[in-house]
Amino acid sequence: MMKAPTIKNDIFLMLIFSAVILSMPVWMEPLGASYPDLLQKFAIFGIFAVGYNILFGLTGYLSFGHAAFLGIGSYTAVWSFKLLTMNILPAIIFSVLMSGLFAMLIGFITLRRSGIYFSILTLAFAQMFYNLAYSVLTPITNGETGLQLARNDPRVIDRLFTEAGEGLPSTDFFGLAMSGYSGFYVCAGLLIIAFFISQRIFHSPFGIKLRAIKSNQTRMKYTGYNTRPYLLTAFVISGMYAGLAGGLMAATDPLAGAERMQWTASGEVVLMTILGGVGTLIGPLLGVGIIKYFENIFSALNEQALHQAYAFMPDWLANIMVAVTSPFVGEGWHLTLGALFVLIVVFLPGGIMEGISLIKKRFSKKSSKPAHLDKAPETGN
């Protein structure tokens, strides 16, 4: 009775998505954001946010402690660089597994509560890890200095093939350097895989059950579902995504510090997800793009740059414009971001994706065709 066009749609979306991500160095150029460090950040935080959205977007459980998994991933990766090899493959595999393990433990405890109590419990765990990293766990985390590479690290796998060289070695992916554009392409490749898995989850029976838990958990229980393992699985998956992101942070810059686990880092991913659109596939990535862009580009603008931008105006007008806009750039980029966030949450609670779908609706009103059987209502993709 019903043929499924969504499979085709999914593949189509994946192709477009891959093309957009891989061509980022090109189309980011005019925006002044095509340098590799920033592109790597886009991809890494993209993975973090896509994974976070599997938990927060699908089940509605607002975790305030996901940065802990980011930190665990980073420390694990740096240890892998120190003990085994500078190749990032084992490092990120261990990062993912280690944070998955911790996510299972933390999720097992925190998922006994829901709503604000769940959020507070996850926050408590993350802050506990953050403080432990500075105190009793110093032998593992190297405290305030952060965990760094050293020349005399064992690196047993690397030693099998080569002698220790002069100076610090750098990370690579089978010969591909993790710095510069090659590093971005490795991160981008992983982001595409991560996005693909998230897309499969969104459109699977498992994903729709997570949405149902968000919608009405009571009904789920009386419908014959044991909701706890569903929530735990979502929690562990999103923890593993965060671990992967943490591992990649260490891979692109082999240094792990505890500040990565602070609650502000957990809050950032919440902001990204809400800004872009909770529970939509693409939304969190848009949120990452905007926040990281503001953080890196707006913060670098100064009065001189503003004067240049207003150079076409008469001097007196340019001076006024600079005076008005300068609090919003440079050090004040938080102000711009804050204002944008408030505007979006007030007027578009569904984030940027809600805005896009409103625009789409306006344009397609004239050619309204009967809804297709397989189309889900605003499940967002």
Binding site: M1, M2, A4, P5, T6, I7, D10, I197, R200, I201, H203, S204, P205, F206, G207, I208, K209, R211, A212, K214, S215, N216, T218, R219, M220, K221, Y222, T223, G224, Y225, N226, T227, P229, Y230, T233, A371, L373, D374, K375, A376, P377, E378
Partner: protein, 253 residues
């Protein structure tokens, strides 16, 4: 006498000083529509809550299909074959009607937990077809992709009924399925209940509307102050002076 599918034996339940159920005994025959009537606060909903594992009784047992249900989690009781329509409709307001009905159908097929990430929901054509069939029966097929949250109250009730029916439960519990409905909607619901009666599904129905009760019930029990004060066929109940005094007041009939 046919099989007893559900047996409530000496169930007690107090909330603080209030005795909601005291020495409740009830036997439900397989394949029958059993109505429970009684004044407000008689313990009707509490009884259902005990049956589906929402409340643990202070003492007593609930046996379903020869199995003790006390201490089981709600999902285990549902998987054993009991579905419930709540007094305030419990649906998934953020999902489409189709998804609302597919989820219980999947629960029936896949059990309490299944991690099937790499299967696409749109490939579950059998489940979709089944859901569409039930939605056709219930008269909501035209709104397959509407958000369930935007339905009218009466339609929400019907949707919830569809969600229960798609599971083909052995026992269906209906908590005031026509409360707050117009006469027109009530009659539609009666027709629907008569239609699904033929399937041989056992039902317990709690209802205030005597018109509905006497239209669909094979057997009626009267609950007052947490205990059954009379039980019998509709005609026996109509003629029972104790019932008339306790609840019906005669005027209804």
């Amino acid at each position: 006498m046919s099989n007893i599918i559900l047996e409530i034996d000496n169930v007690q339940k107090s909330f603080g000083g209030l005795k909601a159920l005291s020495d409740l005994n009830l036997k439900i025959e397989e394949g029958k529509v059993h109505a429970i009537i009684g004044p407000n606060g008689a313990g009707k909903s509490t009884m259902l809550n005990v049956c589906i594992g929402q409340l643990a009784p202070d003492s007593g047992t609930v046996t379903f299909n020869g199995e003790n249900m006390i201490g089981k989690a709600p999902h285990e009781i549902n998987q054993a074959g009991i579905s419930r329509v709540f007094q305030t409709p419990q649906i998934f307001p953020d999902l489409s009607l189709l998804q609302n009905v597919m989820i219980p159908a999947l629960a029936k097929r896949e059990g309490a937990f299944k991690l099937n990430i790499f299967r696409s929901l749109s490939n579950e054509t059998e489940v979709q077809d089944e859901a569409c069939r039930i939605l056709t029966d219930i008269g909501l097929i035209g709104q397959l992709h509407t958000h369930a949250g935007s339905l009218s109250r009466g339609d929400k009730r019907r949707l919830e009924l569809a969600m229960c029916l798609v599971q083909h439960p052995k026992l269906l519990l209906l908590d005031e399925p026509t409360a707050g409905m117009s006469r027109h909607d009530t009659n539609k619901t009666i027709d629907l209940l008569m239609k699904i009666k033929e399937g041989g599904m056992t039902k317990i129905i709690i209802e205030h509307d005597m018109h509905v009760v006497f239209s669909v019930a094979d057997h009626i029990s009267v609950l007052a102050q947490g205990t059954i004060i009379a039980s019998g066929t509709p005609d026996e109940i109509k003629g029972n002076p104790k019932v008339q005094e306790a609840y019906l007041g005669g005027a209804h009939l």
